[in-house]
């Protein structure tokens, strides 16, 4: 299926973008030091395909405008940091780190998010099976109990951020973690399933009633994509 191909490509490109670039060799002035640029992945479904849980207008703005801004900004700051490395300008490299984290994180998070959503006609909302289902049951007792905990975590985010079902790479166990702004799930934890709690993810449809968005989104969660991320 084409959508599967798109999804795989999207994740690979996001992960590639997240890998610290290899040290730039001495180059000619004006050379672009960034090898592969991050690109906006195609959505594996139509903008309106997640309605009524998420409106087509939200999806279009969220993907075409918000996500794309993270992509272009990430490329821009990656280029700047490559130039700073080239000039051995350590202060500039450090000053650029938060911007790489923010925009690179925005790109990674949204790429994973589009993938872990699906229209109900493509399996959205169908409960997890296999190892992921067992891991959730082991940690939370049931899928419903897990959803309740996850929604509590989402509601508790103060400001912009994300909630993730993560896998601890040390223990293999799954758990719920929240991340501020666009901080990506990297390091000790592996992202399995993410929900965007930024206001731009729901405001046009739900306004201040974010609890309704958190409830509705489970109808379009792509558990198959989540299962593939579990190791």
């Amino acid at each position: 299926m084409n959508s599967t191909l798109l999804r795989t490509t999207a994740v690979r490109s996001a992960l590639r973008a997240a890998v610290p670039s290899t040290p730039a060799r001495a180059g000619i002035a004006g050379t672009t030091f960034v090898r592969g640029k991050a690109t906006l992945p195609d959505l594996p479904y139509d903008y309106g395909a997640l309605e009524p849980a998420i409106s087509g207008k939200i999806m279009e703005l969220h993907h075409k405008n918000h996500h794309n801004t993270y992509v272009t900004s990430f490329n821009n700051f990656s280029e700047q940091i490559a130039e700073a490395k080239q000039k051995n300008d350590i202060a500039a490299q450090i000053a650029l780190q938060p911007l790489i984290n923010f925009h690179g994180g925005g790109h990674i998070n949204h790429t994973l998010f589009w993938e872990n959503l699906a229209p109900t006609s493509q399996g959205g909302g169908e409960p997890p099976t296999g190892a992921l289902a067992s891991a959730i049951n082991d940690s939370y007792g049931s899928l419903d109990a897990f959803k309740e905990k996850f929604n509590t975590a989402l509601a508790g985010i103060q400001g912009s951020g994300w909630a993730w079902l993560v896998q601890d790479t040390q223990t293999g166990k799954v758990g719920i973690k929240t991340y501020a702004n666009q901080d990506p799930v990297v390091g000790q934890f592996r992202p399995i399933l993410g929900v965007d709690a930024w206001e731009h993810a729901y405001y046009l449809q739900y306004q201040n009633r974010k609890a309704e968005y958190f409830k509705a989104i489970w109808d379009v969660i792509n558990w198959k994509a989540a299962e593939k991320r579990l190791k």
């Binding site: 801004t69 206001e199 731009h200 046009l204």
Partner: protein
């Protein structure tokens, strides 16, 4: 043991008074729903805290700090924000209503345009939810102006700090009207800044700036 209970301060103008720069729908939701939710959650947290103080339950008291800071911050910030805006056609929305403040702004940033440019750049640099503030910092007999950002609902309450005006950069403050066009919001908000209030806060003390909070108890 009782705790103070706060209530929503009325807007000093109609919901549609800031149009076309901030829509009526945004103002209604922002004041009637968002601000109210901070107050409701603040009152609940303060009540729980009062009980925890009464029963000498120190772990609960510490556990409540984050919720109190966030929701009290939301109440403080929005209370200041409503007052530091005014309809674009009013005399308050002209910088001529703040002669002393403008004098110090020029002394600090060179000219008004340089100040706006610096402020806008700061606002657009916020990663996630937060606020941009013009702050007067008093150190002994000296005072200086500075532009600061605070994340989420962190309020400006540091030593010697008096918030002159604040600009809400949460997406709920502009999204229904400006969508992802954040720069346009950051441009238009200047047309509805209440310079009269800003001047009063600049010439006054921190207690003066926060009197709206006392009135909301």
């Amino acid at each position: 043991m009782s705790a103070p209970s706060y209530s929503l301060p009325p807007l000093p103008y109609a919901y549609d008074a800031l149009e076309p720069h901030i829509s009526k729908q945004i103002m209604e939701l922002h004041h009637g729903k968002h601000h109210q939710t901070y107050i409701t959650n603040l009152n609940a947290a303060l009540k729980t805290q009062a009980e925890a103080v009464h029963t000498a339950d120190i772990t609960s008291q510490v556990g409540l700090q984050a919720a109190i800071k966030f929701n009290a911050g939301g109440h403080i910030n929005h209370s200041l924000f409503w007052q530091n805006m005014a309809p674009a056609s009013s005399a308050e929305a002209k910088t001529s209503a703040a002669p002393e403040l403008i004098k110090q702004i020029k002394a600090t940033w060179g000219d008004e345009q340089a100040f706006y440019d610096a402020f806008k750049t700061t606002l657009l640099g916020i990663q996630g939810s937060g606020w941009g503030w013009l702050v007067k910092v008093e150190t002994g007999k000296e005072q200086r102006l500075t532009i600061v950002t605070t994340k989420d609902q962190d309020p400006v309450v540091g030593k010697g700090e008096v918030p002159i005006f604040g600009i809400d950069m949460w997406e709920h403050a502009y999204y229904l009207q400006y969508l992802n066009g954040k720069p346009a919001y950051v441009e238009n908000i200047w047309k509805v800044i209440n310079w009269k209030t800003a001047e009063e806060r600049f010439l006054g003390t921190r207690a003066d700036a926060f009197k709206v909070l006392r009135a909301s108890i």
